[in-house]
Subunit: 396 residues, 2 copies
């Protein structure tokens, strides 16, 4: 018998970049001294890769709600939602989320990853899942667990999706999986086109709103509201680790489907419940999302400004119009070197290399929040200018 | 094309018990008025199904540590550990856990479910996983995601495990999965026997310590310490939702394997980091686990006393000697009726019905904590006596 560990020991994907001092991962944040800043390696850096788009993770209202829940209910629920870990607070949040999204019901999960994984209960080996090429790993794993047949269509390519729908076995049930706003590219899904195809072919549509719910649409209801198509998706999934400033996730949809998931989704029934602190923080975040639309506008305006700066310097920033600005580099080692140069210039951004992005499409993912100041955006742009010139990625 | 939702709508497993008013799930806890008590449906009940074995989820030290972390670091990290969600606090906890378990390294995950899922990165389609029949759903899902060949051996059956090991392809790498203390039955794995087989056949052994780390062994290091075999498992997984009184999980093992998992385990790299609050609470829990062995003794003594009471009444309580007391009922509807009678008697226990247990093996899972008072244990025993007699499950 071979040794399971031998394969793991041989592997070191990051040796080339580590030798250059450009290893970009697992850099621990020591402190968050002020809004938009982090301390890493003892240095104060501008945070430029966070998913905290609305700037709520350090909001006093969320902090107070979370601490109050801890004082009243403790630091954990010590059980799964199914058996003894459900709190009235979970149900309050579920009711509020369902109403917010115009759905009948919602189910709160311990993480956003587990919310997506829960969708595996909906389909089986006879069924067909049509999935955008760029969907999140947790959705891919959900389909793998379901053993449904997964077909991937090119990012937002309606003709390709339609061809795959036409090829589906008429005896299969069909489910389309896409994201409202894609986490790596910041692009929106072509919801009008995809929803029309779902209706025409009788497939159900699940929309992962991890990045867009809270951020997009006048009311913050996400990509569906942005497109004026709030009833278009049959199911929404959410992650509280983005706009909601905490951890956890949810699935929202028709009442009977949520009841089914509450009893059949293994990621729900076999996982401990979301903590009182995160549940209370998500509720407080929803209050802010519903009442402070200016946060969305500020986050998006900051991105517009920074995107223009970076494109003006000569960087390729893609087609996004959201808070995510992908700065395309291509080569993995060069991407890590740029990450390191930015770090040295005082900017903490995110290097996205394969398998998070396709081979040869490495990029620095920059994101903006509602609380970035003009001075901080200046610092990010200045750092990119200096680093990009040093590495000859942009004209001097 | 068929409708994905039709299957879900038709399904109602719980109609028979709901009609009897005995639906046992998703009962929301409104308050935790005092140690060992919960308010459900406006009534104060004795909590008798929690995994909070050491009674830490409402401990003032954990609460204070969690609130302090929230004040300093916020209600979320807004990113995955890989890219920008790592905290120095995570690394401190990882170092402490590794030292505690005598392993080289540890990796903290957002939930215990995700810690187990992370193991999927270790094996592939060529490999063989030998798994105890009773292992947790998250481990089964890990193997499914890995596409390794999974063979299940009868619970703790060494002859069966050896036969399966002998049948393995010599070109496969082998991994044995079991739990230190099984969550439904409360039984311990036969670690001496399993570890010997793992060594003899060259398979690696991963031990899920969700329920036993913190509780068993003089130092709280779990089933391995209990058996005097602390070096026997190659990998340990943990869940902070049991003895650690909060949420989250971890994998501990050899340094190079943890480095590999940090870069290849999708449940790690594509999931938002554990919140500052839960990370700090887990650290505070580890302090208590290391310094207050009397909590373990109290929790186990409470179970011994209650087990004797329930067996004395005529209930079948299985072979467990731990804090988990499975009260075997058999029939699903009868099990839910007993759950309801206990509820009416003021006891909040857990009904375990298929698929959590095999068909025809429904049971009420009772568990004790370090903080259960003698009066509360009396109330649980008295409730079982009254309910069991009313349902003719025990002699009058």
């Amino acid at each position: 018998m071979l040794d399971v560990f031998d394969r793991c020991r041989l592997h070191d994907d990051f040796e080339p970049v580590a030798e250059l001092g450009a290893y970009p991962y697992y850099r621990p944040v020591q402190e968050r001294p002020a809004t938009g800043e982090v301390v890493v390696d003892g240095r104060v850096l501008v945070s430029a890769g966070s998913n905290d788009y609305l700037g709520l993770s350090a909001d006093p209202r969320l902090k107070e709600a979370a601490c109050r829940a801890i004082r009243l209910l403790g630091t954990g629920t010590s059980g799964s939602r199914l058996v003894n870990g459900s709190l009235a607070l979970h149900e309050t949040l579920e009711g509020r989320l369902a109403a917010f999204l115009g759905q009948e019901a919602a189910m709160v999960t311990a993480t956003g990853f587990l919310a997506n994984l829960a969708l595996s209960a909906l389909v089986g080996p006879r069924d067909a899942v049509l999935a955008d090429q760029l969907i999140h790993a947790s959705l891919i794993d959900a389909v793998r667990l379901s053993r449904a047949r997964m077909r991937r269509y090119r990012h937002n390519d309606l003709a390709h999706l339609e061809r795959l729908l036409r090829e589906c076995d008429p005896g299969a049930a069909g489910l389309i999986l896409t994201e409202g706003m894609f986490s790596t590219t910041g692009t929106l899904c072509d919801l009008p086109g995809i929803a029309a195809l779902a209706r025409r072919y009788g497939a159900r549509l699940a929309l992962d709103g991890a990045h867009d719910i809270g951020l997009l649409g006048a009311g913050g209801r996400g990509a569906a509201e942005h497109h004026g198509l709030e009833g278009a998706a049959d199911l929404h999934t959410l992650a509280f680790s983005k706009c909601f400033g905490t951890t956890g996730g949810a699935v929202a949809g028709p009442g009977q489907i949520i009841v089914y998931l509450r009893h059949h989704a293994r990621a729900m029934i076999f996982s401990a419940a979301l903590s009182p602190a995160s549940t209370a923080a998500a509720l407080a975040a929803l209050d802010v999302i519903e009442t402070e639309p200016e946060r969305r506008r500020r986050a998006l305006a900051a991105a517009d400004r920074l995107r223009a700066d970076l494109a003006g310097l000569g960087f390729e920033t893609g087609a996004s119009r959201t808070t995510i600005i992908p700065v395309h580099v291509g080569d993995t080692v060069m991407c890590c070197r740029l990450w390191r140069e930015l770090f040295d210039e005082g900017v903490f951004a995110t290097a996205m290399v394969p398998p998070s992005v396709p081979e040869g499409r490495a990029l620095i993912r920059v994101s903006t929040t509602a609380l970035h100041t003009e001075a901080q955006l200046d610092r990010i742009a200045t750092a990119f200018a200096a680093a990009g010139r040093r590495l000859a990625l942009i004209p001097s």
